[in-house]
């Protein structure tokens, strides 16, 4: 593998981390008080989020094990109102990068899934079960419960609007 290909394989996250680290290196040279205050702040956040990261990992394992794209795609073929219900649940349970789902949804579209249901599915992907520990840690139970219900409701509204607009 040549150098160019090796560079391509490095994710953008690592570039981001390198840039931020360089800023910290400049700080330690030119502004040590700011460097140490920031590092102290960083240390306090890390202590708080490490246990949450562990619970996120456990939830990710459970979802990976029990929920497969095949399982979700099977239930998206339901009829009537049940279809909306399964689209919402399917969106919430789906994992992996969003682009992975585009071809699968395009395939279902050719088999009768309308644009509104696709939009509803994509909107509900925003509700991530493995990340709930993080959400609760920062915003609390009540807020996350309300936000999730409002988002589910709005996903159906968006689906209906998209269906109407696509007909125009």
């Amino acid at each position: 593998m040549d150098f160019k290909n090796k560079l391509k394989r490095i994710g953008s996250g690592w570039y981001f981390l390198v840039i931020v680290s360089l800023i910290y290196i400049l700080l330690v040279i030119f502004k040590q008080d700011l460097f140490f205050s920031s590092l102290n702040f960083f240390y306090r956040i890390m202590l708080k989020i490490i246990p949450i990261l562990i619970s996120v990992f456990v939830l990710m394992v459970l979802i990976n094990y029990f929920i497969t794209p095949k399982f979700i795609m099977k239930h998206l073929r339901e009829k009537g109102f049940k279809k909306w219900f399964f689209v919402v649940i399917g969106g919430i349970l789906s994992s992996g990068p969003i682009y992975m789902w585009y071809p699968l949804l395009a395939d279902l579209k050719s088999k009768g899934l309308n644009y509104g249901l696709i939009a509803c599915f994509l909107y509900n992907r925003a509700i991530k079960i493995p990340l709930i520990p993080f959400a609760i840690f920062y915003f609390g139970w009540k807020y996350i419960m309300v936000l999730s219900f409002v988002m589910i409701f709005m996903s159906i509204i968006q689906g209906i609007i998209i269906n109407k607009l696509m007909e125009v």
Partner: protein, 141 residues
């Protein structure tokens, strides 16, 4: 239905977290620097307590931001601690995960230009509405 093995499920989860690890670390380092650098009063000037404007700014920043939602929770949560309004943070969190400017070309190509444009535009507007409704309900209880 064919399930994957436990080992594979653990490996996938590990890979998934490892992929976002540099982004999480970088975000926490950046948030730590921003929080130390800017006093809380800075955010109260930036966010005027105007319902529409605050949520619009939050949605706009969320729409053009990319990365795993974990990053958005960390950034949003720490900014909330610094005094940014819950309304702006909610709009930011919702837009981050529902509006996909970066994925727009792929979405247009596979699901159609009209659909991709309408979905992202409506998701942007809805992020403002979701933020206003959520914060109103949470505030009422």
């Amino acid at each position: 239905m064919q399930k994957i093995s436990v080992k594979e499920a653990i490996l996938r989860a590990g890979k998934g977290l490892w992929k976002v690890f540099p982004m999480i670390l970088g975000t926490i380092l950046l948030v730590s620097l921003i929080s130390t650098l800017f006093p809380k009063s800075f955010y109260t000037i930036l966010f005027s307590k105007n319902i529409i404007l605050d949520s619009f700014i939050g949605s706009l920043v969320g729409s053009i931001s990319v990365g795993n939602p974990i990053t958005s929770y960390i950034f949003g949560g720490e900014m909330l601690n610094q005094g940014v309004s819950l309304l702006a943070i909610t709009a930011f969190l919702v837009a981050w995960v529902t509006v996909g400017i970066i994925q727009l070309p792929a979405e247009s190509m596979i699901l159609g230009k009209k659909f991709a444009f309408l979905r992202n535009l409506s998701a942007f507007i809805l992020s403002i509405i979701v933020a206003i409704i959520t914060v109103s309900i949470v505030g009422a209880f």
